[in-house]
């Protein structure tokens, strides 16, 4: 299967340079794929899809009739990152999470950053996800954002930007692990020859981090994962992570506050719970504190949490740093708390709450991406160049009515990766969501979830809107693939040897 007809187009391609030379990190992979007989890659792709369906690795589609499940589309061509590039990303993410954690802690205590007028007070106080209930809260070990899934994108200029922080309950890591599992069985030879950094220890890191949070150090803590239930779109992930960590998967109705502790109902009575990895939004955690109509949470949970008798990951209230308007200030946040320049840049952002930026945004709706402060999954968003005049007029009304709720960014031309479409390769746009754990120290999972917009020309990578995923390979320093200068073009005999890869 050859790349000879592949068109890089006017985009940054992750696998090839503009003259269709494989980038050094992708060289081994390209060689192996080109050595495959015609049709073989497609067979493997279909085998992978069948395996995913039988394993029930599916997600539920909101809005569609109940019980509609789809497999999360998976493309067999991975995205490859060199060791050098990854080390910059990793440093940048550590720096950002470190600063964001200090920022959240400050917002719920002294609010130095507001008193110093680095961020306008009204931006924070008008944020729907700033939780007054959390003021004065001291989460265990001083950590708020234990699990983060930062969205990164690469623009035409080759620079990687931070698009969103996702400090609440980021999902998708199970696909990283499953994709890798499938890819290893499809391409064992490539894995042997490429020195790809492992991701399979993520559940161990996650469990260690969660145990680190336990109220009583020393005893072996009871850690559980709290899910909204089987109809949640990420249910597969919840059950998969619980299984991989060997912890109990619980729903709100399994838990009850009893004698000042959180307990779970078991066949032999009530058992105390120490740490809850909750995959439930703040709103639903505790109906006596947050949304009263929540059937998913545990009444009284927040009292136990405040008393330090149970730990929650992530802490409630982290969403404030996820607010898309607050996002615009993160570079200033990093400088303020750490006195360092951000390693990973933000996408340049216009804040509609500021008059000049508002005027600019309204004039340039056809070229900007406009986002509502608190929507995710690609909803509540206007992609200017792909919009109709009607949609723009509609959005202009919304923005004028509530400027605080909107930001605008230039339309990035996301980088592309070759993707198997029918029997040939076409470039498709991708983003990257690495996962960061904050416990005893900060751990960044090498790689992360590469989401791909499978529709031709589309920039929307969300699974609910036609997105899929790819395996993400981060090469280690010693990888043969990165030793570019000494790697020669393979001769025919090597090509044959690489066949059953």
């Amino acid at each position: 299967m050859r790349f000879s007809n592949y068109d890089v187009g006017p985009f940054y391609d992750e696998m090839f340079s503009s003259d269709l030379m494989p980038r050094s990190a992708a060289r081994t992979l390209v060689r192996n794929i080109e050595a495959l007989p015609e049709g073989e890659l497609r067979n493997r792709q279909q085998a992978a899809e069948r395996a995913l369906l039988a394993m029930g690795i599916t997600f539920n589609v909101y809005g569609a009739s109940q019980g509609v499940e789809k497999i999360f589309p998976f493309d067999i061509l991975p995205r490859v990152l060199s060791a050098g590039e990854w080390s910059v990303i990793e440093k940048g993410l550590r720096q950002r999470i470190h600063a964001l954690n200090l920022f959240i802690d400050d917002l719920y205590h002294d609010q130095r950053i507001l008193r110093d007028k680095v961020i306008p007070r009204e931006i924070i106080e008008s944020s729907r996800v700033f939780r007054r209930e959390c003021i004065g809260l001291r989460p265990p070990r001083g950590i708020w954002c234990h699990v983060t899934g930062t969205d990164l994108v690469r623009h035409n200029d080759g620079t990687i930007y931070v698009l969103e922080d996702n400090l609440r309950c980021p999902s998708g890591v199970s696909y990283v692990l499953q994709n890798r599992h499938v890819m290893k069985s499809m391409f064992p030879r490539v894995f042997e020859s490429s020195k790809i950094r492992a991701v399979s220890d993520y559940p161990s890191h996650l469990r260690d981090m969660l145990e680190f949070l336990a109220p009583d150090a020393g005893s072996s803590p009871r850690v559980v994962l709290l899910t909204p239930g089987v109809y949640n779109s990420a249910y597969f992930e919840h059950s998969f992570l619980a299984q991989q960590m060997g912890i109990e998967l619980v729903e709100g109705r399994d838990l009850v506050v009893k004698d000042g502790f959180v307990c779970m109902r078991t066949t032999t009575g009530f058992e105390r719970v120490d740490v809850i990895y909750r995959r439930l939004d703040d709103d639903f955690l505790d109906p006596t504190v947050f949304r009263r109509d929540s059937m998913l949470g545990v009444p009284g949970l927040m009292d136990v949490y405040k008393a330090g008798r149970v730990s929650l990951a992530n802490a409630p209230g982290t969403g404030v740093a996820d607010d898309k308007v607050v996002y615009a200030y993160v570079p200033r946040v990093i400088r303020y708390y750490l006195g360092e320049d951000p390693i990973l840049p933000n996408v340049p952002t216009h804040i509609c709450a500021e008059p000049d930026d508002l005027a600019y945004t309204l004039e340039h709706l056809d070229e900007l991406v406009v986002k509502a402060a608190n929507e995710s999954g690609g909803y509540g968003m206007l992609v200017g160049p792909h919009s109709t005049a009607e949609q723009r007029a509609d959005f202009a009304l919304k923005v004028r009515a509530n400027p605080r709720n909107y930001i605008a960014q230039p339309t990035l031309s996301l980088s592309r990766v070759p993707t198997l479409i029918d029997d040939h390769f076409e470039g498709r746009h991708v983003d990257l969501r690495p996962y960061i754990l904050y416990g005893r120290d900060i751990f960044v999972l090498p790689g992360g979830l590469t989401r791909v917009a499978l529709k031709r020309g589309s920039l929307v990578v969300n699974s609910s809107q036609g997105g899929g995923s790819k395996d993400t390979w981060v090469l280690s320093e010693t990888a043969r693939g990165t030793a570019a200068p000494t790697t020669s073009v393979p001769d025919a005999s090597q090509t044959r040897e690489a066949l059953p890869c």
């Binding site: 369906l53 039988a54 029930g56 998967l249 399994d254 009850v256 109902r265 078991t266 032999t268």
Partner: protein, 326 residues
């Protein structure tokens, strides 16, 4: 083990077993139809009586021909006891405990469900019922086998076996009832070669024909009733099933056999002794249908007791919802 998890494993197994038995009901009727004289009355409607869903059926299906009944029992998503609905429910339960059960169990059940979903679209249960029911039976056997071979035989597994065996006892007794409904229609056949054929069909549907022959030889109503209700070695017999269920119930609580810790154990003990000390002649004297009816009431009582003892742990201000018994 979480109460909810125990509940889900219990019902997952019950639903798979229920699907298998609905397929067996269909099979007994198919067998009877093929062996019946051409002028014999249509028996399909009475099949629905056996499952206890005749009201729902008459409301939604004005006709009562073979296709209506087959659709109702195999693929009707609105009939909670159709084969499709049972496996869908089993899979939903499995999905909520897939981190507890083995991957093999989950993958098999998921594949089973996908097969039925496709069969519902193609109406394969109607066009080729014989193959359909045998496929369902096999998939159910496979699930039980995979469960026994891949899941640790600890608390969770015992809840699964408990569910499976209570369901099996209930359904085997109903299988005998199919014959009861037929008898009402064809009283003049009693003792004729045709009667013999009918009882053989009942046995075949319980996979019991060959084993019966080895035990009793001649086919007689007394022998069949004794075999399917009271045998303690045939794995689909009511008594065998309940002895297994009882063993699991006691394994879960840790109470020795012969003693009891809670109501379900007490009721189960009573029922098992009844089956051990009742003679088949007594059952027939009282009336088979009446006996089966009472048996089902007692099984429901045990089921409710299990729910109270293990799944509905009471705490202030909350009550976990129960799955329906049907």
């Amino acid at each position: 083990m979480l109460s909810r998890v125990a509940d889900s494993i219990y019902w997952m197994s019950r639903y798979v077993e229920r699907a298998e038995n609905v397929a067996r009901f269909i099979e007994v009727n198919l067998n009877l139809m093929l062996d019946s004289p051409a002028e014999a009355p249509n028996q399909w409607k009475s099949l629905v009586n056996t499952t206890g869903d005749h009201e729902d059926f008459s409301r939604r299906y004005p006709g009562n021909g073979q296709d209506d009944v087959l659709r109702f029992l195999t693929s009707d998503a609105d009939n909670p006891n159709s084969v499709f609905s049972c496996i869908r429910a089993a899979r939903e339960n499995a999905r909520s405990v897939r981190e507890i059960i083995s991957s093999e169990m989950w993958i098999h059940l998921n594949t089973f469900y996908l097969m039925l979903k496709e069969a519902a679209v193609n109406e394969r249960g109607l066009s080729n019922p014989t193959d359909f029911v045998s496929e369902v039976r096999q998939s159910s056997h496979l699930f039980a086998g995979v469960t026994d071979a891949t899941m640790t035989h600890s608390e969770g597994w015992h809840f699964g076996r408990l569910g499976r065996m209570i369901e099996r006892a209930d359904k085997t007794s109903r299988l005998l009832d199919v014959k009861y409904y037929l008898l009402l229609r064809s009283i003049e056949d009693v003792g004729t070669p045709f009667d013999d054929i009918q009882w053989a069909a009942v046995l075949r549907s319980a996979s019991a024909f060959e084993m019966y022959r080895k035990r009793h030889g001649r086919i007689s109503p007394v022998g069949v009733v004794e075999f399917l209700l009271l045998d303690k070695e045939f794995p689909r017999a009511v008594r065998f099933s309940l002895l297994d269920a009882q063993a699991s119930l006691h394994a879960i609580s840790g109470t020795p056999l012969g003693a009891f810790r809670h109501e379900p154990e007490r009721h189960m003990g009573l029922l098992c002794s009844d089956l051990a000390y009742t003679s088949v002649e007594e059952i027939l004297r009282r009336g088979l249908h009446e006996y089966v009816d009472e048996l089902q009431t007692r099984l429901n009582q045990i089921g409710n007791g299990i729910h109270e003892a293990y799944f509905a742990l009471k705490a202030p201000g909350s009550s976990p919802a129960a799955q329906f018994q049907a």
